[in-house]
């Protein structure tokens, strides 16, 4: 099965397959170690880079303000951007959905009789399952980011936004390279990387089309900003005669001054680098006096559910995301289960929020909102201050409103409202609780129980309810304090007035 096909079939079971995938991931020791190791490293790097930069909170406020301003005036800036791209001789295609974007790409490919496409890293191309469609048309697409190339050989999808093959080890990679090339490889990073360099160089030279994403479009110049460490992004946007960009419609900043802010924040948040190795601003195809560079530039701008978030008081901010993956690297759930468990193109906290929104699928994708303990680490790490933890709660609310939660759960929370909303019933119910727990208690603890209690007891004991709750003890406590008052015991620290 192709990588694209795998992703497409996963989409249908995002929610219902979540628990099964979680179990699988948790049983994979290598995966868990690799993800924990890498995310720890990225997290530490980010904290150090933030420290060195100084006053990170001021940067966050500025970054958020810039993104907010851009999205609030997206019609203006997107129009300005597109006009400037065409002014420079680039072609712009606005596409409302994935299929629209795919067919636009095919049109460009057909016109150029393309047989080979070299791809830089692009999450949007994953989002629209472009590889799958290219395969159907017998157009060979080669992933040239090292991590993506490894996944392509393995017929898998990325499990991290910026370290796509985070879950693969050297041995597995050596085996993949051995199978693909027919020559034998030892699991040594240097040797494997050297092979990839040589092999992929030929693809850069031979490809009909170079395809990239776009980290930031600059409205005032019509520039496509590409951010990367390997140089493959520069290769595919320099060597093939045709450069096609696929980008989300929200990935803009108004000016180059604003670009300075987001670029500095992106690198530091993503990998802890001061700046990624290559930051390239592509402004139009090659000029007449240029002796290299593509002759054609095509920019496909994708909506695909994004505009649905505009004007939404709660979710519009999700469009501020700059895809740094800082939220993945701090998320305790991601840390243990990795990216594939989410079953979607975008994983981690941002994926759990973004996917149901842009796919407009609360039933399956909406279930990802439960894959969070709402600890807020994602929000704390987000350079654009997107309140992902709040959004997760609001997605759950949306699921409830659409009656997509289980009937017993709905009944349980209705009863909760009735009982906890009425002090008399509350007291009665909690008294009953004490007696009802008795069959389950062993040695002062509840060590196992029926569902949903079993969810707790599979990993923890539960202390039994004491005979007297605090409110039952309040009378005695008051007497004790009154007695203290008369005996004149006072605190050493004095009194508070």
């Amino acid at each position: 099965m192709s990588a694209g096909g795998q992703a497409a079939s996963l989409d249908e079971k995002i929610g219902s397959g979540l628990k099964e995938r979680t179990k699988q991931a948790l049983g994979d020791e290598f995966l868990r170690k690799a993800v924990a190791y890498t995310t720890d490293k990225l997290k530490t790097g980010r904290l150090q880079a933030m420290d060195m930069f100084g006053d990170w909170e001021a940067w966050r406020d500025r970054g958020k303000a810039i993104r907010e301003h851009t999205i609030n005036h997206l019609d203006y800036y997107l129009s300005q951007f597109a006009d400037n791209v065409t002014k420079k001789g680039g072609n712009v295609y606005f596409c409302s959905g994935a299929s629209d974007a795919v067919s636009t790409f095919m049109e460009i490919a057909d016109k150029n009789k393309a047989k080979l496409v070299a791809k830089g890293k692009s999450m949007v191309s994953e989002e629209i399952h472009l590889n799958h469609h290219l395969e159907e048309r017998n157009i060979e697409a080669i992933e040239t980011d090292l991590g993506e190339y490894i996944l392509q050989l393995a017929k898998e999808t990325p499990s991290h936004l910026i370290i796509p093959a985070i879950h693969k080890n050297k041995q597995q990679i050596a085996t993949l390279f051995t199978e693909a090339s027919g020559q034998h490889f030892e699991p040594e990073t240097k040797v494997l990387a050297e092979y990839a360099r040589k092999k992929l160089r030929n693809y850069f030279l031979e490809s009909d089309i170079g395809l990239t994403g776009c980290n930031f479009g600059v409205a005032e110049t019509g520039s496509i900003t590409l951010v990367e460490n390997e140089g493959n992004g520069r290769m595919v946007s320099t060597l093939p005669k045709v450069h096609v960009v696929v980008m989300g419609m929200e990935r803009l900043v108004p000016t180059m001054e604003d670009l300075e802010v987001v670029l500095n924040m992106l690198a530091r948040s993503a990998t802890g680098q001061k700046l990624t190795t290559y930051t390239s601003l592509v402004t139009g195809p090659k000029r007449p006096e240029d002796l290299d560079g593509p002759e054609e530039l095509h920019v496909i701008i994708l909506d695909n559910g994004r505009s649905q978030q505009l004007g939404d008081p709660i979710f519009q901010e999700v469009l501020h995301c700059i895809r740094c993956a800082a939220c993945l690297n701090v998320c305790p759930v991601y840390r243990h289960v990795g990216g594939h468990t989410y079953g979607t193109t975008y994983s981690g906290p941002i994926g759990a929020v973004l996917t149901p929104l842009i796919q407009q699928d609360m039933k399956e994708a909406g279930t990802l909102s439960y894959a969070s303990s709402l600890c807020g680490a994602c929000y704390e790490a987000c350079p654009m201050k997107i309140p992902l933890h709040d959004m997760l709660v609001h997605l759950r609310h949306r699921k409830v409103k659409m009656k997509l939660t289980a009937l017993p759960e709905r009944v349980a929370f209705k009863s909760y409202q009735t009982v906890f909303g009425n002090i008399t019933l509350f007291k009665l119910a909690t008294k009953m609780g004490y007696y009802m727990q008795k069959p389950l208690v062993r040695g002062g603890m509840i060590k196992s129980g029926p569902p949903p209690l079993s969810g707790w007891t599979q990993s923890r004991f539960l202390p039994m309810l004491p005979k007297k709750s605090f409110r039952d003890r309040w009378g005695d406590l008051q007497k004790e304090l009154a007695a203290k008052n008369t005996s004149g015991t006072k605190a050493k620290g004095g009194s508070a007035k």
Binding site: K19, T22, L26, R32, P332, V333, R335, H336, Y370, A371, S372, S373, L374, C375, G376, A377, Y379, D390, V393, R396, H397, R398, K399, V400, T405, E409, F413, Y416, Q417, F420, G421, N422, I423, G433, K447, P452, L453, S454, G455, S459, R460, F461, L462, P463, P466, K468, S469, F470, R471, R473, W474, L477, L481, K484, K490, A491, G493, G494, A496, K497
Partner: protein, 242 residues
Amino acid sequence: MRVSLFITCLSDQMFPEVGESIVRILHDYGCEVDFPEGQTCCGQMAFNSGYQDEAREVAKTLIRAFEHSEYVVSPSGSCNGMIHHYYPHLFADDPVWKAKAQDLIDKTYEFSQFLVQVLKLTDLGAKFPHKITYHPSCHASRLLGIKEEPMQLLSNVKGVEFVDLPAKEDCCGFGGTFSIKMPDMSEAMVCEKVANICSTGAEVLVGSDMGCLMSIGGRLNKEGQPIRVMHLAQLLEEGRKA
């Protein structure tokens, strides 16, 4: 100074001794402590599960119960986080209740926050000659910004040997209904938390949220780890008697 105890449903029913410790300490420092009987729960359990309408009704009981209080103090950063962070959203469309909610927000403090910020107390003259570590709960530190207060209070306890908890900012895996809805994820998280706690060699784990402590304690018990789990208020009260 009049202080009303917001016990939280969890501590009321499962950990009444935490409330007793808080009341005794506040009383010793001259606070006139009362316990409004009408209180049940802040509504967080329902809110975080997506049941906002149900949460709103329960939240109203809490607002009503503390309507006449001067200060409200609770043993939980999480429940206070619910009030501070989500009540404005919950009552956004109802000006009357929104104002009442704001009144509650303005006077509600978490225990350590109240001692340090309002009573200006950081040294309670407690003695506790044990090796301890501290788990800072997510909602206290991230939603309410309570990071320094518990540390200030603990640093003045005599005889304490404090060991920093590795990866202390990582969630313990409780997350309310998360622990029941996503038991496998939750288990992986609490196991790592417990492994980190054990690696410190501490005899006592201290925290400021009984939800986290119930979860971590439940895992420690299941693993048979001889580590005592205490709320900060319990440690301070015990230390003052010593």
